[in-house]
Symmetry: D3
Subunit: 305 residues, 6 copies
């Protein structure tokens, strides 16, 4: 069976050969911006918007990717087309961009590079088994003691790979429940984000989510707000605190791979009646309709195989 290809700085290489120097700034400085797109029924979802946001991250970090957004879209599409035959029809994939500043030179200026940017683009099977059961039962959302990096230190809207703080927060919540999902607060104690996911609450029929100030301006988040508008579900960008989560009727996370992950417990207490709620279900159904596949079913089917 042929191997999946990876785009590595202009070359297509087999996935198992996709390696970078240990002197790359990706390794030495976490100096990488990124986007994760997924396909639904083999079609990439909002790929243009992901690439648009990638170029915002590149701009703010002053990394020169070596080509413009149109060219990036072209080579991304080429890679996807090359790999798609390797995926079964019921299977979808991630489509990930990681662009580092290149091989760095130790010295007084960390941005001096020995090479141009390292462009890594790859597809990966969308393995949803880890999330599947949450569509049915909901997950346990837990708050870590550590707080999100504030935007005055590093803006979360720069989608980047210097993510150690997220990993450590995630480990803190695993102390409560080995399957807990993090609800990270900002330094003022407001709900910010899950590591890489946005957070939504439903209270008295109103959908609420923090403004993207100390959290990623997620495209899945944006999709939810668009679907809510279509479904006439009122929505608000507002400040949320743990109290809001404890007393909400429904809660869920959004992120590229799983779209919607309901949360039915928060710090050991039930959210609402501890079942996945009607607004959450409605939004998931609408998203499924939008992309032409049953999102939860796809994940649950993977469990069986």
């Amino acid at each position: 069976m042929p191997s999946r290809q990876v785009h590595l700085s202009g070359n297509l290489v087999a996935e198992e050969d996709a390696k970078i120097s240990i002197f790359d700034s990706a390794v030495l400085l976490g100096d990488t911006v990124t986007e994760s797109t997924r396909t639904f029924a083999h079609k990439p979802f909002k790929l243009e918007q992901h690439i648009d946001r990638l170029y915002k991250s590149l701009k703010v970090t002053r990394i020169d990717a070596g080509c413009d957004a149109a060219e990036m879209l072209r080579i991304t599409t080429e890679l996807l087309e090359a790999n798609l035959p390797l995926y079964q029809s019921h299977e979808d994939c991630w489509l990930v961009h990681n662009i580092s500043r290149g091989v760095s030179v130790p010295g007084p200026d960390p941005t001096v590079q020995r090479s141009s940017a390292t462009v890594m683009i790859y597809t990966q099977p969308m393995d949803l088994r880890g999330w599947a059961k949450y569509y049915v039962e909901g997950c346990h959302a837990v708050t870590p003691m550590s707080r999100i990096v504030p935007s005055q230190s590093l803006d979360a809207r720069i989608k980047n790979r210097s993510r150690m703080s997220y990993t450590l927060a995630e480990m803190e919540v695993k102390l409560v429940d080995s399957e807990a999902q993090s609800v990270i607060l900002d330094i003022d104690g407001n709900v910010a984000e899950n590591k890489g996911g946005n957070i939504f609450l439903v209270s008295d029929g109103v959908l609420k989510t923090p403004a993207p100030r100390n959290c990623l301006a997620g495209l899945s988040r944006e999709t939810i707000l668009e679907l809510a508008q279509q479904l006439d579900i009122p929505s608000q960008e507002t400040t949320l605190q743990p109290y809001d989560f404890y007393t909400a009727d429904e809660a869920f996370f959004t992120s590229t791979p799983y779209c919607i992950m309901p949360a039915t417990k928060f710090n050991g207490l039930p959210v609402g009646d501890e079942n996945v709620g009607p607004v959450t279900k409605k939004l998931l159904a609408a998203w499924s309709e939008l992309v032409g596949i049953d999102i939860a079913k796809q994940a649950l089917d993977q469990m069986k195989s």
Copy 2:
């Protein structure tokens, strides 16, 4: 000419072959702890302390390096001995540890790994040309608008490779002066650290440096405090603010490669009389004596060759 060897998760490979998968958590999550030691006259300086601190970083990040500190010291020393014949006698080298959590699996838990930790140990020629002139003239220290990541988000004492915030701060100060060195403030406006270096001021004969609360607990910083004690220079760990820097008599940075980098300008204004000061010179001389080489001369000699 034989190539330098790199220790890569148990194997010695040639430097140009030292590559890791683009799926390693080093690349995907910046999930790497690190230490940088240097040699003086081919002898590693405070290697045991560096490895001790590495194991503190490993513990707090819950990364299992696969061996204990004693074994890490052994394999590090072996690597150094293998590579040292490739360095000329007047030349010194970095000795760097980077340990990532390994190849990660996309899913709800970022700490689930497909492999054990990726251990990268390498030596690199100590190229000091970038810093050489600062021993003579001092550098220009500049304050960026961005602030250090607070310890409640990610403690700077975990020496890690999720360093994008440092790189962006460094780019901000380069807007003022393409050779500026950063003096990053914490979110309360206190002097914290240079990207990877500690900061010292001398005022009325007293050496002052911030307590390691929002900055790395540098081993070079520790060396300075030890030398100061031997030289009867009074020293204080205290809160410092830009006003203290503007009105100091002398200022310098400390870090593994250059040991001491005097700063003779701060945000466009002279520090003291804009010359490298007597306390700074005394400390550098004492450090040179401690390690048996003239630190500044080694760097300046590189400029000539």
Copy 3:
């Protein structure tokens, strides 16, 4: 040629004789509230609103101006009428109020005064040459390291003359570019204001500006929001951070003298395509129409003379 008159605590004096004691609280304590109005085609713009806001500042600072707002309007209009003949028809002027608490007495209570309030009202030619080219090219907006004085220390909506923090911030940005204009952040890292000007961004067709919490509630700002409403440009009062500025399509400052100053660079990076944008132009045209003169042309014409 007769001299411009200045209203000085009830008397009209020639501008060159308009002097106050060095013991005035204006000098000793920066204890002065202020308003700056300008004329368009010799007509004062929103003078009543400026005087209304002046009386809010007087109230909060507990300074007794010695007359009420109606009387203040009367004497202001008188002064303007006295001076207008000295301005050429194409020329406009500032109309400035500075009211200090009066001559203070050193002692335990800084509000004990030896005199009643010192009322200074003057007109000055509106010299727009410093700003003229920014209408065409836009300016370079730069963020200083210092942060705006928080409202819990001194509310920026009290328009006052204790402005040293603004001057120092302005000097910091001049280190980057001698013509840079400051974008000062608040202590949480949010965009607050330019020294004396408000800040607007345009993103995806939406006009955004910070709520007047840690910044002046500018009357020019208010004019922009009124014009936007008339032009059906959606607008938002919201929290903005440097990321928003970096990724905006357009940006501009507003203030009494120049009305709108486009910003086409931010911290060394282009804003949008680095040209003055269409929404900015539309708003400037509408303002010009409102006041019956071509605002940019007036400034550019001054450059030629």
Copy 4:
């Protein structure tokens, strides 16, 4: 009787003629640095240190006074000598420096000046009647709701005349008691300073005062610390909060005119036994001895005349 002279930018003028343009940056921008020295028995106290600190303020604010510190000392001494014959032998005086950036030009850069710095130096009779009774009874210290300007906005160690925030805080405490003296907190709720004075507590025999982080590094404060050392009174620079003030045995303020002002009430509650305490008295006696006059007596004698 001849008038007191004022040094005004190189000229000696009579006090009643000491006036500056209303366009001076002192008036328009509060852009003035300052020092207040006093004499004891006609000898200026720590004048060199005051001028040294003045030059620190000038440096950090980038104001060019037009002469160096030695010349400033010379012209200051000249002025003092010219005026001293006008003071009676038992009378002392203030010796005040105010240096503004000069006459400013309205435009995009607030630091462009139409003139060089405005240097104002004057002496004023040391009228201590306002403080006299506090030597005997102590004053009422009260905490305002407003908080000190944080150093990241404007460092209090830059002794400057943009002091509106202090005046407003002072007015807040006068709501509690028309003779109250302010104990201003910083934005974290720690005791910072009185408007222009430092704060000392005595608890269990230990003298405590905040480190000069969000407060002036007063020379009177320094004198107290020196006297304490001579008297073997242990002293600490430490964080203080209202609780410490409420539960202290003694409390006092320090500033140039009154040297020591005991506080015997704090927010309506007695400090200690509500009498001026023994450590306070000892320090005041030592200071009196140092300068050769009975400081409290001088003030109390003024009350009688």
Copy 5:
């Protein structure tokens, strides 16, 4: 005359016998949640909503009241009916729930209890004499130096009896005026709440109140927002600061007993023209109409009797 009954953990006891052990967690830990409802013309106002909020407080504090909300409503109504005959027809009453965790056991876990929750429900005559005159004259609102407990420490929306911080803040404002009502700020200096009451301002016809982030989400507050909507008074949840209060046209507090308490002075300065304003009056009239009694008259009548 028979005594009022109190519901005490399942039993009805006479008010004078309603006592709890000094070992109850109400006493030892302030570990009590609470609601205060009032009657209008003997009908409880929004009792269901109060009980709903009580159950939110119980949930977040993990106190098990021993019965569900429906049962709580039933026993509450029973108690009210038992007591109402003791109130005269023109008299109304408080209806208060206090539920503590029960009798606690000293040891490493403060939540281990020797008993189930202590349920206290009582009615009390609605003595409005303390507030009566404020309907006519308005009260004096004053800002204390202490700041509201931030939600990351204890969310004010948990209506609880650990209220010492409120009492101390209230005492601070009584230093200014023995009848002052507190306007407590949050730790960022924004207006938060009165001890137990919410705060409204009217500026240019718009009703403004802080979002319930660092203050109670009051049901009286909710009533005001509902009445405003019915009366077509535009309203905003927004950040308010002392400046907004100083410059508002009208201001009032809301709370269960008095419904609306106008404030006509703020920190010694008049609010608007120092009279109870038209919007305030309109809202009070609408509320009176809603509940079928003249709210202010009821209070004022009590003064006469």
Copy 6:
């Protein structure tokens, strides 16, 4: 068997009759200050200091206990003597003071009381079984997401009974481990206190504890510092953060009942080698010697009976 007596506002009553009105401010407002002393071998430990601190709390909260400290000591001693015969010789007791402001009157001023202060003094058997095993194994210290109430809201040094925030934090850590002990951080992310206990770390032989800024100034804490000085163990009051706890060699809590509670795990990771450390043991031995009983043995013996 006769019952233990409780001192209740001047009367001795049997413990089972020690009840207070549900209208007491202790219940309604958490308006109670407190002290907990313990006996060792039937002798109260530092009772004078506890009463001295009680009077500091009374002063700052402006509660009038109705008698002075000497009288309080007398009645406390009387109560203890009355109850001691009821304790077996190997058994010790708590000696607790709770003083509330008295029965409060609902109205605009929460400090108006219907009665004088409610004074509750009682003894309770010192049941140490909950803590006994921690002397041998150490406990698991865990950090909650909630943060300590900052001193600008309510100073932790006021030992008070408005303790709901502590109870909720304690419940958060029980989610990790049902026997976890809390390490509560302040709002800046620094280690503050355990609910009612202080925190000590030992690193490289140095004993470290936070300064009492956002934590109780514990008398047990003070005892540790005194014992350390006697034992020549260097100690520091300093800022501590979770990193310090993770990398410490030893850690322990201090509080009145258990004196020292070793912590051998922190957030799931071992502290040092996960055994009770030598410095901790030395301090506990010294304390035992000081009070003449083996503290750990007393607790462990209780487990057997």
